[in-house]
Subunit: 354 residues, 5 copies
């Protein structure tokens, strides 16, 4: 969804309702809800679509890892059924459906809830919310629509089902978080290019279009700040949750993700500082241009106004103006005018205006 | 009450009085005090108005939940009697009557005190203070005047008296807090619209009316910051109060409210940043306009001042000016003038002024 | 004392002296030292002036509360004697005499020391330092000069000696602190009025007098920040001092004072933000005015400079200028000039300058 | 040393050397090293110069307090020998010789190390580094050159050797620190005077010299911030060091020094805010002046340009210009010109430009 | 690598890959990987190049200190083999290869990982990443290319192998960190010189080239902030890691490094403040210049425009203009013009414009 919409919250549409009332809150038209599952252990792997959600209820602990991927928030019934099947709190489901949610981590008795924004660049920074529920036997992801990065993860699962099964479902959770975090680095590249473009132009052509671009970048940074800083609390929430759900091995990978998140926040802050710098340069460029305009006006006016005055003097029609009769009156006047101009020019040179 | 009034505190009117002196401190004319009660358990529900407050004294623990709603701060006697009936500290009553109070949570031996601002948008952000006293057998709310959102809560009680009775009076407290918190999301929508309006206009028509609007928004944000940040301490005060008054189930709902409060603060900060941006754009737009004005002046003046000078030369009345007698003097002069103009225009084009 | 003086510290006059050297450091001429005492229990009350300070030494614990009020810092000997009588550390006395001291709380073995600024508005914010020593049998206050609010407290003691004796001397301490804290609310009202005045004028008449007023307010805010923030540490120092000197009952009253102090700091910060806003508006108002001035100049110049040039052309004295002989030369020129003016006016209208 | 030099660090000259390599790092020419000692107990006092440093090695614990004062950093050998005599870590000696060191406290097994800046005002704020080593039997101070304040301390020792011996060498340490801290108050007075000067001039004569003065003050504040904030950590380091070296009595004096340091930091921050304010006023004064200049130009130009145009019209040489022959043509034109001027003046008055 | 490149992160090139995938991420062309080892104890020292990395596997604890220096990140295989030989986690190797990494410290079971930036000045601040792995028997450093400072360390090892062997490999680690930290002081000197240059020019010649230089410095400061602040966490990570790897003696040296890092951060902040000041001065210089330009224009225009008007009056061709026939008309007009000029000049002098 576009930036400006992302700033508003639309919680307003639920004011006064009971908590846990499930309504999809998103800017874009909600997409049809599709529920797929990928189920694997070290030797086998199955992908299938889930239609009859109520049968999901009893998943025995058969050593298999299951990732249920829900995409599209239109059919709230399906999501509600799924929530009941896995004993998910209505408030968690409500959060999953609210695409204005801040990134967060919440630890329930029987599952964790993680909410994150996947970002991509399409004219400007745009985001897609992904909710991850890590329960005992299953990982459930809920997203507004298809997430391109998921394909890549599925491929890696297929290629390494042995290794990933051994690492456990917490490693799968890590893979999903890591993919989302990586999406920021991709987006930063586009922003970095825009900053370089503006840098190249701001001193040469400080026109109002550049101001517009700077403002657009600044707004995107405000948005990125808003969604990246909470990721720090989110990741440290996961790391600190002394849950048995996260193995020692995965902890090291989460440290790495945590590094990346700090690097993301660092980059957002750095870009923000650089954009502020650009605006300062823009403003001082305008001042410089204005100064130059004024100098041109002042030089021309200051040279010619006195000369025009002299010409005006000898354009007067007094009957008794002796100079008018002098043979050398005209050339002497012209020479006097040239002398005045030269004095002015020397004055401007001394002032370093020309 | 209007914003500017909201910034002042009017504590001054009580300087030098004994603590706990009950005086209604509010900007608007205080309204007549009305005391209503809604009393329910899983099977029955009664609504009635309380006139003789002294009889309230002994409420046996009959398993019923009671919500006493006081609206209007005119009849301080009534409020004082009620305070004595429920053993409320005079300082709490004083806080309830002071509509300039900062949102806060305070834990007394026999009750909690919660103070919050309900906001709504009516030309600009306006607030109404709501105090909530959560005692053993009863919830008491005190507000300056009728709070529209209360109707909705009462309706939900009537529809779900069974469920709410089971959840306990702490759940009712949650419902009231949640309704107040939701009022911010409704208000933000109006502010967001105003920001978008200004965004649309600031680059096109940076007139002083827009400055006025930006300033008005900025002031509202200063006010919102002032009343929203303390809500964070308030909610964490409730959550940390290891009181037996709050059940495990309600804790989860309070977490959700806490999320919303963080989101509210986030939005206030984001709007504040965006409004600051708007002012920057406004200022640079003015600079741009000024630059454009100066360019027009400079171009016109710089072209015509030298030409007028030349015309002035040949307007002089010297008797001996040979050029005046030349047959081609006039057309040559005109051509010379055109040549100068062209040089000037080329100069301006090179400078990218035209 | 006036603001600017209040910023300097005058500690310099004591550089190199031994610690505890008692010198009154204040801007204004120190007043003669007067020592009064009010002594009361639930049934009796006496007020008297203390002249022979050395006899004060042994106060038996007779259940009476004593408040010794010292006003005027001229007779340092008296204060020194009093300090010895009650076993007050020389550094405490030194602090009491230093009217540049930051608000603070210090816990000694046999007493607490509290230092606060009483403020009032007299053209600008002005302060008076009050030191409070809370010892086992007595409360001592030291102030530069008469404090108006003390009269009110004494009256309340006389009216409620029973209740106050029961509450203990810590309640008297609370009454004094509360009175000082209330002085800020009174001062804020005057500042709030000034801000409203400037708000009304800044958009209409942004002259340099307003800049002056804004600067004066800003300086007062810098001063208020400096003296209000430390009050937070002061009050929490008192509340945390797990002294048996403070009863459970008084703790609740101190919580209330603490609320007020936070509200004071909040108001200072809010006013500071609003004053900063006012300066921004002032500056953009000036820019707007400048823009308007430039537009008037540009419009007039841009219309008349070309016309004057045309008039200049036909004012040239070339012998052969066929147009001059045409019968319609003059009216045609005038019409041409009008046409040019209209084109210019349309251009300005398109640019929305007129 | 002058400010700008003080900002650089000159650590660079030691890059790549072994730690503890003793090289005097200072901007000014290092002075010859002189080592004096003052040795006293309650009844006797001796001052002498130390030449043969190696004999210092064994100082028996004879109840005497010794203060070894080293001034001048030229003879590094002497300092190195002294360090070995008292078992001082080479890194401590290195820090003592590095006059760019940040104020700090460091706790070694057999001594504390304290580093501070003594400041004084000589055109601008200038500092002199003083290192204090508090060992078991001795206090060693190391300074670039003579410190004027030391004379005063020595005099106080001579006058009160009894009292100071009883208080212990930690009290002597306090006296030295207190003297250094007091040097800031003296320097602030000069800065405060400069601020007042600028305040008086900035609204009247906002010329570029004032900008220069503001900038100079701002730079000095940047420097003062840099050296004052670390003093807070330094003093709390000493106070927290649960060393037996510091007696209960001296702790109270250190609290007082700590108060002064906070007051110093407060003053630096306040001055910094005030200087920022001054710059804002300077800038708005310039804008105001510019506005006034532009108004004068606009008024003159706007009145006379149309009049000159009219004069130009009747200066044209068309043969058929009926007005020229009218008897009242000239006076009517003059009256018309006056009328136009009056309209213009009314217009400017309405705009409140004149 | 140049600054702008250093801000981007290029993590993007690894988005979607498995963690621990080893790809060299750097801006410059990666150099061929060379692996050298220096191996010494108190009596012997050997330097050799390592070609067959797999034989490295078993290093017995023979009391020798080994420093393996890897330079150039082209041959990832070699680095991977080395990692396996010493049981280094793939994520650590990945970090070593990523030259955009933030300085950090990470504590693994069998080694520490330290990452730092070595800086140098070559037109602008440029950095080179150095990773240090401190394992049980060996220190491994990984750098993009040759690090000049390493030569110096090797020389010091050769000269003091006895002392360094006794101090242990943690002392060698300290020497490397210290050398890197010293590189900042060298770079600061160049920046300090640039700041002084700009300071000298900004008031005299505030042209746009200076703006460019200020912006370049500002950007370098943004970069330096980004890489210096994390060094604080890095060093305190090492100091707090209650590892037996760090001896008590080395701890004291690490304290010294920690001091230097704080001093580096301090200097970065100070330079940043000073550069901000420079920009403020630049902007106010421009305003001052503009003011001066406008004054010249206004003075000239305001004097001559009225005079030209008067000349225009007597240039009109009305038949009946009595003044034209007066013998003293011309000189009287000239005198009147001079009088007007003088009045104007007095007016400007009163306004202090000339
Ligand atoms: Mg934000
Ligand atoms: Mg990593
Ligand atoms: Mg990283
Ligand atoms: Mg990182
Ligand atoms: Mg940053
Ligand atoms: Mg900040
Ligand atoms: Mg930053
Ligand atoms: Mg929620
Ligand atoms: Mg939420
Ligand atoms: Mg949120
Ligand atoms: Mg922000
Ligand atoms: Mg402060
Ligand atoms: Mg209260
Ligand atoms: Mg309050
Ligand atoms: Mg408040
Ligand atoms: Mg604020
Ligand atoms: Mg605020
Ligand atoms: Mg702020
Ligand atoms: Mg003191
Ligand atoms: Mg103090
Ligand atoms: Mg202070
Ligand atoms: Mg500050
Ligand atoms: Mg301040
Ligand atoms: Mg950072
Ligand atoms: Mg050191
Ligand atoms: Mg240091
Ligand atoms: Mg330092
Ligand atoms: Mg800073
Ligand atoms: Mg900051
Ligand atoms: Mg600084
Ligand atoms: Mg700063």
């Amino acid at each position: 969804m576009p930036i400006l919409k992302q700033h508003s919250t639309k919680e307003s549409s639920k004011a006064g309702m009971a908590p846990g009332t499930l309504i999809g809150i998103s800017e874009t038209e909600p997409a049809k809800t599709i529920v797929n599952c990928i189920e694997f252990d070290d030797s086998s792997l199955q992908e299938y679509s889930i239609v009859d959600i109520k049968n999901l209820k009893k998943i025995e602990n058969d050593g298999k890892i299951r990732w249920i991927e829900i995409k599209g928030l239109l059919d709230i019934d399906k999501i509600e059924n799924l929530g009941q099947a896995f004993n998910i709190h209505p408030l968690t489901l409500e959060d999953s459906l609210n695409t204005y949610l801040r990134p967060k981590f919440e630890n329930f008795d029987n599952y964790f809830f993680i909410s994150l924004k996947y970002v991509f660049f399409k004219e400007e920074i745009t985001s897609k919310q992904i909710s991850i529920i890590v329960a005992e036997n299953v990982i459930i992801t809920i997203s507004e629509s298809e997430v391109p990065g998921f394909e890549n993860i599925k491929q890696r699962i297929k290629d390494n089902k042995n290794k990933i099964t051994k690492s456990g479902k917490d490693y799968l959770m890590y893979m999903i978080i890591d993919m989302i975090v990586d999406s920021y680095f991709l987006a930063f590249e586009s922003i970095g290019d825009k900053i370089e473009d503006i840098e190249d132009n701001v001193l040469k052509n400080p026109d109002s279009e550049i101001m517009d671009q700077i403002y657009s970048l600044k707004r995107q940074m405000i948005y990125l700040r808003k969604i990246t800083w909470p990721m720090r609390d989110m990741i440290s929430g996961i790391r600190r949750s002394d849950s048995e759900m996260i193995s020692q091995t995965t902890q090291i990978y989460l440290n790495d993700v945590s590094d990346h998140i700090i690097q993301i926040i660092d980059t957002v802050e750095t870009y923000r500082d650089m954009i502020s710098e650009l605006r300062e340069i823009y403003l001082s460029s305008i001042s410089n241009k204005m100064n130059e305009v004024m100098k041109v006006l002042t030089i021309i006016a200051t040279i010619f106004i006195p000369l025009t005055f002299i010409a005006g003097i000898y354009g007067m029609n007094f009957h008794f103006m002796p100079e008018l009769g002098w043979a050398l009156g005209y050339p002497a006047t012209i020479i006097f005018m040239i002398a005045i101009s030269l004095v002015m020019i020397l004055f401007f040179r001394k002032k370093r205006w020309i």
